[in-house]
């Protein structure tokens, strides 16, 4: 049994934490939170590029480090701990993964080296309005290589260079690459629950679009991309959830009420124990996802669903009960608790809500157990 990260991967994780402790304290996160016109921390982004993290899982022939997805998982966990205000997930978990999964040789050779070198910020645009999107409600369309439609919200849509867009062509759903800096694209910033991450409304009016992957396979391909992203996102969520538990513990150990530290009351001890249990369940599910992602196992869709459901629950619970443990001070803008609370919402929604993943999981289990 070897169900853990290797010493090298743990070393990479420790180095990532050191880098982010130095370069991404919460004061830096607040630099984005408190500046409405600042979409991300560009200096931190440059630093992350220099670390080579964007190319961790990109093969060397395409300018990456060619390490693997386990390495990307440990980096993701540290970025989640740090609530890093950068477009890493959009660029790496979604766009780079999509290109590696479904891109042709020319697309890989064009896009992956730019991602690895930090020359290109990515995004993925699927949602068009309230509620989960399905084949019958999808409106954006492509005709003659031009995309038209509206996508909202698009995480990092304001700052991305290249966007993967879900759209129909001759009634068939597909995924299309669109240069957001080119013609036919209008962007408007959108206010979200998590201002430390950028979001936009994208209006496409005959924007040049290039298909990624086979035609008609848009939703199937999107599910595969979401599965891969979900596992990486689950590591960010585990990192954030663990940090919330640490914050709650530290505060409970220094805050006195009724003559003793509040960490000595069972109401608080049991709350923190509940957090610990959820965090461990999430971590174990995330590890299984990491294994499935790294080996491209047939279990990947089920493992991704489980990882996403457990991690979404753990981060939500830890972030809300962290505020509760802090009491009144936890409800202030000045305390960092809400950074994690906000990010937990962003991470739970960006690849589809947990409710949708639960339905997917049960459908998968039904199919698996019918066979």
């Amino acid at each position: 049994m070897n169900f853990d990260f290797s010493d090298d991967q743990k070393f990479l994780k420790a180095e990532a934490r050191k880098f982010l402790d130095a370069n991404c304290p919460t004061a830096r996160v607040r630099g984005v939170l408190d500046a409405p016109d600042k979409a991300y921390d560009a200096a931190l982004w440059k630093g992350v590029v220099a670390q080579g993290w964007l190319g961790a899982a990109i093969p060397e022939e395409h300018g990456g480090l060619g390490l693997g997805h386990l390495e990307l998982c440990v980096i993701a966990e540290e970025l989640g701990r740090a609530v890093a205000p950068i477009p890493f997930a959009s660029t790496v978990y979604f766009l780079a993964e999509a290109v590696m999964l479904a891109g042709d040789d020319a697309q890989k050779a064009d896009i992956l080296p730019k991602i690895a070198a930090g020359e290109l910020i990515g995004a993925i645009a699927t949602s068009e309005g309230p509620g989960a999107l399905g084949p019958t409600t999808l409106k954006a369309s492509v005709a003659g290589g031009k995309l038209s439609g509206v996508k909202i919200p698009v995480t990092d849509g304001d700052i991305a260079d290249l966007c993967l867009v879900l759209a129909k062509e001759n009634g068939q759903p597909g995924l299309y690459l669109v240069d957001l800096t080119g013609a036919g694209v209008t962007r408007e910033a959108v206010k979200t629950l998590d201002p430390t991450r950028d979001a936009a409304r994208l209006i496409f009016d005959a924007a040049p679009a290039q298909r990624l992957g086979p035609t008609g396979e848009g939703f199937a391909l999107l599910e595969q991309i979401n599965d891969r992203a979900a596992i990486l996102l689950s590591f960010e969520q585990c990192g954030g959830a663990d940090r919330c538990l640490e914050m709650a513990k530290a505060y409970a150990l220094e805050r006195y009420a009724f003559g003793r530290v509040i960490a000595s009351y069972q109401a608080i001890k049991h709350k923190l124990a509940d957090m610990y249990v959820k965090n461990e369940l999430a971590r174990s599910n995330a590890y299984y996802g990491a294994w499935a992602l790294n080996t491209n196992a047939p279990e990947l869709p089920v493992a991704a669903s489980a990882a996403r459901i457990a991690a979404s629950e753990a981060f939500w619970f830890a972030s809300k009960e962290n505020i509760q443990t802090h009491g009144g001070i936890g409800f202030t803008w000045e305390m960092d608790c809400h950074l994690f609370y906000r990010r937990s919402r962003q991470l739970s929604l960006v690849a589809g809500a947990p409710r949708v993943w639960k339905e997917r999981l049960v459908s998968q289990l039904e199919r698996r157990n019918a066979a």
Binding site: K249, L272, W291, N369
Partner: protein
């Protein structure tokens, strides 16, 4: 990251497999009762025979040193053997409390002659041990034990034990027990306890089965009336029994396993075959599907947490604290899953008759047994305290009884 054995582990697994294929029983004994630790009755002869076979081949306690009849093996080898053994229709194992907790306690503190006397027979399943700790007045609070041991008046140095223990697994078929007794009521509760081993066949020992709310009887009350024991049966120093009992209790969480029985698979199968109001399977119900997803995720979380623990063992490391979450998650899940399964039958769910409702027998049994599992071997609340204190490093509870003489402690009912 993978799920493969190391070459050494694979070799050990192959060796264990070969031995088990040649030696394990081919047919199950059929009267396994409710309750952990295994039952007596007709399966006892089979249990003892299987234990003797394992002992002769060195598989009874793989991690014990060779001079005790073990293999001096690693914990991972024991795990591998257990996995392979579970593939065979083996009889219940009523020896684990003795071998996992009682005998190691005796062996840690006793002289060589006592060790020689007890280790072998226990290992071979010839003698069964029970652990006599919980009392009516103290379940979670084991140190509040009231069972008394006083020196005999005849100057022999013997001790006379009187009192009552409760929730003793396997007492009805045990030959020996370790018992924690009050020897000094003037000292604070932790400082007036002494541990002894005793003969469960002594005429002063009376074992009465407890009729559980679930209908079964897996545990016992044990009454002591003037049971005389030699001073040489004392384990550890006088009034030092709390320290001795910690050695025993350290192993208890490993011994009380997680919940088994009907899980998400059985729930899904049942939901497939039960009609909803529209005639289609109730599995189409979205609220029920969400719950099913949650249970799958919890069950997978526990499975892979065990894999992480095994990985630590495989690497020769001490497992991390994550191994402490098993029972707290699985016992509550057993209760809620069982209840949801019963509720999905609607009015019919109340029927507890296998002839009318064969499908829900497993779920009814979960509903009725789970309350006990949430209490046994550390209640949910005590386990949360343990996680908070030992894993997270939060302060212990305020002990108002810490410096009070035991005899002056408020006792309530």
């Amino acid at each position: 990251m993978d799920f493969n054995d190391t070459p050494d582990e694979a070799a050990y697994r192959a060796q264990a497999k070969t031995w088990l294929d040649a030696n394990a029983p081919k047919k199950a004994v059929s009267d396994a009762n409710e309750g952990e630790g295994g039952e007596g009755g007709g399966s006892m002869a089979a249990s003892k025979a299987w234990q003797a076979k394992k002992a002769a081949a060195g598989y009874a306690q793989i991690t014990w040193p060779k001079e005790w009849g073990g293999q001096g093996g690693n914990p991972i080898q024991q795990v591998i053997f257990n996995e392979e053994e579970a593939r065979h229709p083996i009889p219940p194992n009523p020896f684990q409390i003795g071998l996992g907790m009682c005998v190691p306690t005796v062996a840690t503190f006793a002289d060589q002659a006592t060790k020689d006397r007890f280790v072998g027979p226990a290992l071979r399943g010839e003698e069964i041990w029970c652990q006599l700790f919980s009392e009516p007045s103290g379940g979670s609070d084991v140190a509040a034990a009231r069972t008394k041991a006083v020196r005999a008046a005849d100057g022999s140095g013997d001790w006379i034990i009187s009192g009552q223990k409760v929730w003793t697994t396997g007492a009805q078929f045990s030959d020996f027990g370790i018992v924690v007794c009050r020897t000094n009521a003037d000292a604070p509760k932790h400082k007036g306890l002494t541990m002894f081993w005793l003969d469960m066949h002594d005429p002063g020992v009376e074992v009465k089965p407890i009729h559980q709310m679930s209908g079964g009887s897996g545990f016992n009350e044990v009454f002591f009336t003037d049971v005389r024991v030699k001073d040489s049966q004392r384990i550890g120093a006088i009034d030092d029994g709390w320290k001795v009992s910690l050695v025993t209790l350290m192993n208890e969480r490993l011994a009380v396993g997680g919940a088994s029985g009907a899980g998400w698979r059985e729930f899904m199968e049942a939901a497939r075959s039960i009609p909803g109001a529209d005639g289609g399977p109730v599995l189409k119900d979205s609220a029920l599907r969400e719950k099913l997803a949650d249970w799958y995720v919890q069950a997978e979380g526990l499975k892979h947490t065990r894999n992480r623990t095994m990985t630590a063992l495989s690497r020769g490391q001490t497992p991390g604290p994550e191994s402490s979450i098993g029972k707290i998650v699985s016992a509550l899940m057993m209760q809620d899953l069982g209840n949801s399964a019963v509720e999905m039958l609607d009015q019919y769910g109340i029927i507890d008759d296998p002839a009318l409702a064969p499908l829900q027998a497993a779920f009814h049994s979960s509903v009725m047994f789970a309350p006990g599992l949430r209490i046994a071997g550390g209640t949910d609340e005590i386990l949360k305290n343990i996680i908070a204190e030992r894993v997270l490093g939060l302060p212990g509870d305020i002990r108002v009884d810490k410096d009070v003489a035991f005899k002056d402690m408020p006792t309530g009912r």
